[in-house]
């Protein structure tokens, strides 16, 4: 599928301060991640005129090795150097390319848990979003991106965690992925296949239905223009762009959506309640090989202590393992044994919240995040319990990834771990961000109504992870997809 980027290019050469004001559309969708791509596809298939604008470049899923340095450079925002500042810093990662985060993620799928939906209903007065009401949306998403289990065995490192959890009597499960599997050639290698990212699914669907795509173009501001909106932006080559639209869907993700809205003077409950899933890691060594270059994505998660704590196995390539050992400077040699090692994570559903603010004179927003003492205790508990499961799986050595962490070899040594993770040396990261513009009818805390319409702003909608009322406690893209479908069908009068 050839993309349509060129079709909208400015005709003739223009200088750096040239302005292209020729864009008019019925619906402008800003951002092409899961929220934006799904919104654009349904709108275009319903016959609406749609312009999908994406800040990042239009690259094929195969343009680089997954989880590589090249991918960081090509597809991560700020090369992956994005910290949420606070007493414990949390490094976060966002996609910045056509398809957004779906192009760089692991594809692990969860529905929004029923109890989370119930909480959103009671606390945020989110209407028409019970499990039963969401069922059709979950099912449609699962079908559209081929959510499926591995047809063969999971990677050894993933099975190790599962094994340890089962020995302890803990609930552990394989998580399905949005993935088209091919049958393994001879049964020895893991089955290959293609992750069903947005550039493999909804972006081509939108284009096939007539949507136009403008990649490498950042929307800087929105302004009311008669009954509609005027979006001003900038292409990567410096040409300024003006787009007139009757309706606008902002789908820039949980950090960029509030940043764009605040820059546009729209601030009511915008960017005040960012949530994320902080994770702390452990690099574990085993007596046998558990890792290889072909390892792929680990699929098991331990949910015994969910939603407070979840455990899983991370991408464990040699470079990431070396990074995982950074808090153990005297163990340089350990990285050489990467085939016997893998990285595991403990993730919490936190109490803490953060803010997204724009800074005068700067392009990038300031993200701040405050972990509570309970969060730091839960993180420490997570490290200890994860260590317990890994030792039960016969790990021979554990390197918890925070400053001053002891090396652990036996169950009794887990007592040496702190009861509260030291905030200043915590080395936390996250790939899950949401809730910066929550939806619902509770005007005290919500930025948009139950279907994503921004309060007080006619014809302006949000459709991405920012709308999720709180941290879902599970990988979020399944929730983002289901709510994007639900909300766009409501807009189209089809719900």
């Amino acid at each position: 599928m050839a993309f349509d980027e060129g079709a909208l290019s400015v005709s003739g050469h223009k200088g750096r301060h040239a302005v292209d004001s020729g864009f008019r559309t019925e619906v402008l969708v800003i951002g092409s991640g899961p929220g934006g791509a799904i919104t654009a596809a349904y709108l275009a298939e319903a016959g609406r005129s749609v312009l999908l604008v994406e800040e990042g470049p239009n690259l094929a899923l195969e343009s680089c090795e997954p989880f590589s340095l090249d991918e960081m450079v090509q597809k991560y925002r700020n090369g992956g150097l994005t910290p949420a500042l606070g007493r414990a810093k949390v490094a976060y990662v966002e996609g910045r390319c056509v398809g957004g985060g779906s192009e760089i993620n692991s594809g692990l799928y969860h529905r929004t848990p029923a109890e989370v939906l119930a909480r959103w209903g009671s606390e945020f007065q989110l209407q028409a979003a019970s499990s039963a009401e969401m069922e059709a949306h979950f099912q449609a998403g699962e079908r559209d991106v081929s959510v499926s289990y591995l047809p063969g065995p999971a990677p050894a490192a993933s099975l190790k965690l599962h094994e340890g959890a089962v020995k302890l009597g803990w609930k552990s499960m394989e998580v399905p992925r949005w993935f088209r599997h091919e049958v393994a050639a001879d049964g020895t290698a893991a089955p290959r296949g293609v992750r069903q990212s947005m550039t493999k699914t909804f972006v081509p669907r939108a284009l096939a239905a007539g949507a136009r795509l403008l990649a490498s173009t950042r929307v800087l501001r929105l302004r009311r223009d008669g009954g509609g909106w005027l979006a001003t932006g900038e292409r990567a080559d410096g040409v300024r762009v003006e787009i007139r639209a009757e309706h606008v869907f902002v789908c820039g993700g949980a950090v960029q959506t509030p940043a764009l809205l605040r820059r546009s003077g729209i601030t009511e409950n915008i960017g005040n309640s960012l949530q994320l899933h902080p994770t702390v890691k452990i690099a574990a060594g085993f007596g046998e090989e558990v890792n290889s270059r072909e390892m792929g994505v680990p699929v098991h998660q331990v949910k015994q202590f969910s939603p407070r704590l979840s455990f899983g196995c991370s991408i464990s390539s040699a470079p990431f393992l070396a990074l995982g050992l950074i808090d153990h400077p005297s163990r340089v040699e350990a990285a050489a044994h990467w085939r016997r090692m893998a990285i595991y994570y403990a993730m919490i559903t936190p109490e803490g919240r953060g803010t997204v603010r724009t800074l005068p004179g700067f392009r990038d927003p300031l993200v701040r995040y405050r972990l509570t003492d309970t969060d730091l205790r839960n993180l420490a508990d997570g490290v200890r319990k994860l260590g317990e499961a890994l030792l039960a799986a016969e790990a021979t050595i554990l390197f918890p990834a925070f400053g001053g962490a002891p090396v652990i070899r036996r169950q009794d040594e887990l007592q040496r771990l702190p009861n509260v993770l030291p905030a200043a040396r915590s080395n936390l990261m996250t790939i899950h961000l949401f809730s910066s513009c929550p939806m619902g009818e509770n005007r005290r805390v919500c930025a948009a109504d139950s279907f994503g319409r921004v309060f007080g702003q006619p014809n302006l909608y949000i459709a991405d992870g920012s709308l999720l009322c709180t941290a879902p406690g599970v990988n979020p893209q399944g929730s983002i997809m289901a709510f994007a479908r639900r909300n766009v069908l409501k807009f189209l009068g089809k719900s």
């Binding site: 150097l81 910290p83 040699a318 070396a322 990074l323 400077p329 990038d364």
Partner: protein
């Protein structure tokens, strides 16, 4: 001065964290330096200037202790200065070293993996 200090810092990290005295860092470490400088240019715009200032502080602070800036020290003195900042009681110093160590270690191992 900034580029020279980043270069000296990256070579030191590679020496200490990736090679541990075995083998020679050049010329692969030069690619690591290029990667780290490029990452600095990609980081959020409001952080770039503070990182430059801290890098210069890190460099010049050595004059008091060793009589020369970091980029002019020998390998052992450089490793010692990095360790001092890594173990510092001041959070910003630890964060500074972690930033460069993370980038250099990731860059080094990625390049090595690519070569294989």
């Amino acid at each position: 001065m900034f580029r020279d200090t980043v270069s000296a810092l990256c070579h030191t990290v590679v020496e200490e964290r990736c090679l541990a005295g075995i083998g020679s860092a050049a010329p692969e470490a030069n690619s690591v330096v290029q990667f780290v400088l490029a990452q600095h240019a990609r980081m959020p715009d409001f952080l770039r200037a503070p990182v430059v200032v801290l890098t210069l502080m890190f460099d010049l602070q050595c004059i008091l202790k060793h009589g020369a800036p970091f980029r002019r020290l020998d390998c052992d003195q450089r490793i010692q200065h990095v360790r001092d900042w890594r173990l510092s009681r001041l959070g910003f110093r630890r964060d500074f070293v972690r930033l460069y160590e993370s980038l250099a270690v990731l860059g080094w191992h990625s390049m090595k993996e690519r070569c294989q």
